[in-house]
């Protein structure tokens, strides 16, 4: 098992390199001179020369990549053209906000999904299963940004129970402890929870249904085990599969939050990304994408390792 984990950890290195390469190449996708997109509009001639020398635009592309990578490893992801602040500072502040939202949404989604999945798998073939399947399919078909708008209409505009947009009183990072600010997180979290809810519900139901259909489940039933004990056994066996899906969804939540954060004007990484696109702030765009992608890679790594530790079959390898 440890060899597998070691291999898996080592494998992250070439993947991260590949991801960095893709992000590096994003600049070249932008129309026009790649050099121009990295230079702030009000730069003086001396500034331009410095930047050119720093990025090495007169040198071959692999050298540019190496220089860029070297800087990234030291925490220098560039400077935002818009604000002039280092990208790392911008992103780390925003990442904390997104993480709070993602964690809350994940919690709601996963708990509800597992419960619903258990219900559906248990009542196989009956109405409850079909209802749960329909809800989960709806969850993956509904555009989250639309749900956000609908929730805003219902709860903020019509009922006026919750605030429509923003993150609260103006603090840079979100804190759950501040109840007044916490209200702002309710609608975004609920919206964010929709897609993971659908996906995990489907996976849980499928995994549990498969497990419950196995022969050894029949044996346990014949032994006289009570339904809730049976479900406990089934859950334990289906858990590794479900955990894998959950981990993936957590990664998607963190990395793919742009749409929801745009609707609710939540100052997270997604919002940062959409601002960067609007203002054509290429260093910020590049840096944000890189950091988010690497976060996703490491979340996947953690999930893989956890799954290996949790699955006794893999331990024996």
């Amino acid at each position: 098992m440890w060899i597998y984990i070691a291999k898996r950890v080592l494998y992250t290195i070439p993947i991260s390199l590949g991801v960095s390469l893709v992000c590096f190449c994003l600049v070249y996708l932008a129309p026009g001179d790649p050099a121009a997109s990295l230079i702030p509009p009000d730069a003086s001639a001396a500034d331009i020369a410095t930047i050119r020398q720093l990025y090495g635009f007169d040198q071959p592309v692999p050298v540019q990549f190496a220089k860029w990578l070297w800087r990234a490893l030291h925490g220098d992801f560039g400077t935002s053209l818009q604000t002039g602040r280092p990208v790392l500072v911008e992103v780390s502040g925003a990442l904390a906000n997104t993480a709070s939202l993602a964690a809350g949404a994940a919690l709601i989604a996963f708990v509800l999904a597992v419960l619903a999945g258990m219900l559906a798998a248990w009542h196989r073939g009956r109405f409850l299963e079909r209802a749960v399947t329909a809800v989960s399919t709806l969850g993956i078909s509904m555009p989250s940004y639309w749900l956000g708008i609908v929730l805003i209409i219902v709860f903020a505009v019509k009922l006026r129970w919750l605030p429509a947009t923003g993150m609260g009183s103006g603090a840079a990072t979100f804190s759950w402890l501040d109840w007044h600010d916490a209200r702002f997180a309710v609608l975004p979290m609920l919206t964010m929870a929709l897609l993971p809810l659908g996906v995990v519900m489907r996976s849980t139901r499928a995994a549990l249904a498969d497990t419950l259909a196995q022969d050894y489940m029949q044996v346990l039933r014949a032994k006289g085990l009570a339904p809730h004990a049976l479900m406990r056994h089934a859950l334990r066996n289906a858990l590794p599969q479900v955990l894998a899906v959950m981990g993936l969804q957590l990664g998607y939540l963190t990395g793919g939050s742009i749409l929801i954060e745009t609707i609710f004007t939540w100052p997270g990484t997604g919002f940062l990304l959409s601002k960067a696109i609007l203002t054509r702030d290429v260093p910020l765009l590049q840096g944000t994408v890189l950091i988010l992608a690497l976060t996703f890679v490491f979340i996947n790594l953690a999930v893989d390792v956890l799954q290996t530790c949790a699955d006794p079959r893999l331990q024996r390898q």
């Binding site: 932008a30 708008i149 609908v150 990304l273």
Partner: protein, 293 residues
């Protein structure tokens, strides 16, 4: 022994093939059939939009802005620039459906080919292709789509490129897994033993066994593509105004939710219904193909 019966009559007696079995199973699956019918209806409506819609989707009317459904013959009301919602929805269906199907079709062609080649030849080619796919797989789909589309700039072409790149890795993986499984079976060895070229073996024997599973998976991606494409337009990256597109309409009407919430929710409802239908149809297909004949 009696004389041999004419083969035409025998074919009626002989049990049907694999595709017939699937069609037969689908014929009794009313849920899938009804959603498939809904999709067909939507496609037809989109194609015949000029005939069905009474109003011009581009015609603005500053006096009749954000009117509720039924106002002056506008079936579903008007948007923030006074344009007929029904017409815009119909014309928007074209873009949204196209941006749902086209990226998946392209990704199927490219990713499927790469996956089959990787699975059939194995070795270094497999490593090269699959490791490259792993790198793209390491990005969350929305992030990748937005990053590519965002750097290139808006427009249908960039949206198409971005979405195709998002779907290629997963289709490639499915194709590679299926192909390597089929490759290990005896009949492929037997085909190679006749001296056939690899291309002939792939086309005649491997593809027929790989494509069904691949198609079913691709069909499940269409609903995701519809959502993602609309999302890109929502951010201003995909289809550009004034071309009607559901995601873009949603973005444009966002500010107007305080005045006319019902009208503003319509484009999102359309996206939801289409995506849901694609999901139900693909689920039904997968279920029909699950049980071996």
């Amino acid at each position: 022994m009696s004389a041999a019966l004419p083969s035409a009559a025998l074919r009626a007696v002989a049990p049907p093939g694999y595709l017939h079995a699937i069609a037969r199973r689908l014929r009794h699956d009313y849920v899938t059939l009804s959603f498939a019918a809904l999709l067909v209806l939507t496609v037809l409506a989109a194609c015949c939009a000029p005939l069905v819609a009474h109003y011009d989707p581009y015609a603005t009317g500053l006096l009749g802005r954000l009117k509720p459904p039924g106002w002056q013959g506008h079936l579903l009301g008007t948007d923030d620039l006074g344009r007929d919602m029904f017409a815009r929805l119909l014309y928007g269906a074209r873009m949204s459906l196209a941006m749902g199907v086209a990226p998946v079709a392209l990704a199927l062609a490219i990713g499927g080919t790469l996956g089959v080649l990787a699975g059939f030849y194995g070795g270094a080619l497999n490593m090269a292709i699959m490791r490259t796919m792993d790198v793209f797989y390491a990005f969350p789909s929305v992030l990748l789509a937005v990053a590519i589309s965002g750097t290139i700039g808006g427009g249908v072409a960039s949206g198409l490129l971005a979405l195709t790149l998002v779907f290629i890795p997963s289709l490639c993986r499915i194709a590679e897994t299926a192909t390597s499984q089929v490759r290990a079976l005896d009949f492929v060895e037997a085909a190679q033993a006749t001296g056939a070229s690899s291309l002939s073996v792939i086309v005649a024997h491997v593809l027929g066994n790989v494509l069904p599973a691949l198609f079913v998976f691709a069909s499940s991606l269409i609903s995701v593509s519809v959502l993602l494409a609309a999302g890109l337009s929502f951010l201003g990256l995909g289809v550009q105004p004034p071309t009607p597109d559901w995601g873009q309409m949603l973005a444009g009407l966002r500010q107007a939710i305080y005045l006319q919430p019902l009208v503003c929710a319509l484009p999102g409802l359309a996206i939801c219904i289409v995506s849901f239908s694609f999901n139900m149809v693909s689920d039904g297909l997968r279920h029909a193909m699950d049980i071996r004949a």
